[in-house]
């Protein structure tokens, strides 16, 4: 009984420790040519502007598998509110012919996209990718 209580306490402390160091990172497939992207480039990418690396267009995917990612995406990546972002996307798609970033609503689909598209770029919780050899972290976007 005492052992069970100690294990539970340890588990809670570990969870709090993980939660206290959570971070959102920009990721690409492990075999991607992308090394790093500046914040301005990342912003362009997720606003739908075409971004080429070594002559190859990157494919941005908006990760919506976790609702907590949305405010971080809006504040740290595109630096605007949701409505402003929607207006900007509409303007870009309709007037400039840009492509709307594909939205993925489950973590499995995000990972599957990263595995299948070497030009894919997206953002994820660090804890979800730090032990995944098929995914490479290229930038920390936000950390608590």
């Amino acid at each position: 009984m005492r052992r069970a209580l100690l294990l539970t306490l340890l588990l809670v402390l570990c969870t709090q420790g993980v939660a206290g160091t959570q971070a959102v990172v920009l990721v690409v497939p492990a075999d991607s040519n992308v090394v790093d992207l500046e914040p301005v480039t990342v912003r362009k990418l997720f606003l739908g502007l075409p971004v080429l690396v070594n002559g190859v267009p990157l494919h941005p995917f908006r990760n919506r598998s976790d609702a907590q990612l949305d405010p971080i995406f809006l504040q740290q990546i595109v630096a605007m509110s949701q409505s402003a972002y929607d207006r900007q996307i509409l303007i870009g798609v309709n007037r400039q012919g840009w492509l709307r970033p594909v939205e993925l609503t489950t973590r499995a689909r995000v990972l599957a996209t990263l595995y299948s598209d070497p030009n894919a770029v997206t953002f994820m919780w660090l804890r979800d990718v730090e032990r995944n050899p098929k995914v490479r972290v290229i930038r920390v976007l936000w950390s608590d």
Binding site: E38, P39, L74
Partner: protein, 499 residues
């Protein structure tokens, strides 16, 4: 209390109040949420972009100049007005703007929603790459002015909502009064109709089509009810008149049957009595002829003959009443000379305190019958009249005229010669009127009358196919009306019967 709460005005007003009580808070909360979201959008959107730009500026700054440049940038950011806290830290060292109004120890992590944490500062942190290491730019933006604007806007919204509510309630009260007014008028009119005033027109002047149509339909219903009511009342009056007429006819029939039975009885008695009188009169006359005129026996026989003649006269009058008299051959004659002749006789008889008036017209006064019987009718009626006025005096009025279809329900339709004999004497009670045509009925003292006068008149008039009516009131006088069929009408009726 229940009467008050069930009234239309209170119900309508209550419904509006309940709707407002439910919707106005929702309206206020909804508008407030829109206002808050709008201001939050206006606040968050530019500062996210600005903080991103500052972070990008730092990331692109020259490495050699970075410490000095970063300090100047942080100060300039704070001096821009909206930023109240700015610092750059790499974990070991922290560069803090000396112009910040928030102490470094109170700074905390990011805000992702406007007005999080309640400290009126919106914090944004950006990781900035400086070569191979990362630093964190942390900016705090003042939410106070925006919160004040939101509060002011919410106060304006609240005032507008309260004004709208007050206006709506006032309009609801006015509208409920406008809607209820025709109903109240209709209710009052319906009350009057229910109270018996069915001729009150239902008038509701309203601009509401449904109310006008309701008024129209109710007015039609009222008119139909009034029509039905009038028809029913008319029918009731008609039935009452018919019932009264039936009762009168029944009474007259009973009276006539009683008179007829009395007449039959009297006629039979008179006939037998006449048979007895005939030998008495015959043999008395023979004995008187055979007796010396100056003797006592002759005087006695003369008295016997005179008494026998009086008896025969009495019998004749009884026979007249029972229609068994022997009159002359009926002839058409005008009533006026006969009546004038009888009145000339009466003027000689009646005392001076009785005035005799005669008013006659020639038209329609020809009848068929025995003039001597009509003469007796006039004499008998006038005699009764002047005897009723003998002590007090008065006016004896006789009128003669032709009449078509008398309105009196007692007389059959047709053309008649109307002989009217009226007096201003003492009149008769109803109980007396019922028996005046019965033979030997009299109200006079013993020896003053035989009670045969009016029964003889009734017999004569009836034998001529006519009718007699009497109208009398105690103290006001009596009027007899004799209706004798006009001669022309009789001829026509006979022609029709033969045809």
């Amino acid at each position: 209390m229940e009467r008050l709460t069930n009234s239309l005005r209170v119900r309508l007003t209550s419904v509006v109040l309940v709707i407002h009580a439910a919707l106005v808070p929702l309206l206020y909360l909804g508008v407030s949420a829109i206002v808050e979201d709008g201001y939050a959008e206006l606040f968050v959107n530019p500062l996210r972009s600005n903080s991103r730009l500052i972070a990008d500026e730092l990331e692109a700054a020259d490495a050699q100049e970075f410490p000095r440049y970063a300090g100047a940038l942080l100060d300039s950011v704070v001096l821009s007005g909206q930023v109240v806290f700015a610092e750059i830290t790499d974990g070991a060292q922290t560069l803090h703007s000396s112009l910040s109004s928030v102490s470094p120890g109170r700074a905390r992590g990011d805000d992702f929603e406007f007005a999080d944490h309640g400290d009126q500062v919106y914090y944004i942190s950006h990781r900035v790459k400086r070569g191979t290491r990362w630093v964190v730019l942390r900016l705090g933006f003042d939410e106070g002015p925006t919160l004040e604007r939101i509060a002011a806007a919410k106060r304006r919204v609240l005032a507008a909502v309260l004004a709208f509510t007050a206006a709506s309630i006032a309009v609801a009260i006015w509208l409920s009064a406008v809607i209820a007014r025709p109903m109240v008028r209709l209710q009052e009119a319906a009350k009057r109709v229910a109270g018996g005033d069915v001729h009150t027109e239902l008038q509701m002047h309203s601009s509401i089509r449904e109310v006008r149509e309701l008024n129209h339909h109710l007015e039609r219903m009222r008119q139909e009810l009034v029509g039905t009511n009038d028809r029913l009342e008319s029918e009731i009056r008609g039935r009452e008149a018919s019932e009264q007429k039936r009762l009168d006819l029944e009474r007259r029939l009973l009276h006539r049957e009683r008179i007829a039975s009395i007449g039959t009885l009297a006629g039979g008695v008179a006939h037998e009595f006449n048979n007895i009188l005939t030998p008495i009169l015959l043999y008395s006359q023979i004995a008187l002829d055979d007796t010396a005129p100056d003797g006592a026996l002759a005087r006695d026989l003369t008295r016997i003959v005179a008494a026998a003649h009086r008896a025969r006269s009495l019998v004749n009058r009884i026979l007249t009443f029972s229609r068994e008299m022997h009159s002359q051959e009926p002839a058409v004659f005008s009533l006026r000379p006969t009546v004038e002749e009888a009145l000339a006789l009466m003027r000689a008889i009646v005392p001076a305190n009785i005035e005799v008036d005669f008013d006659a017209s020639e038209d329609g006064t020809a009848v068929q019958g025995d003039p001597s019987l009509v003469h007796q009718v006039v004499i008998n009626l006038c005699t009764n009249a002047y005897q009723a006025m003998r002590r007090t005096g008065g006016r004896l009025s006789v009128k003669l005229r032709g009449i078509d279809n008398p309105g009196d329900g007692q007389i059959n339709p047709g053309s008649y010669a109307l002989l009217e004999v009226g007096d201003t004497g003492h009149g008769m009670e109803q109980a007396v009127i019922l028996h005046i045509f019965e033979p030997f009925f009299t109200t006079r003292d013993v020896g003053e009358g035989t009670g045969l006068g009016l029964s003889v008149v009734h017999g004569i008039v009836t034998s001529m196919g006519g009718s007699i009516t009497v109208e009398s009131a105690v103290g006001q006088g009596t009027t007899f009306r004799v209706y004798l069929p006009a001669a022309a009408a009789q001829v026509c009726e006979r022609s029709g019967a033969l045809g």
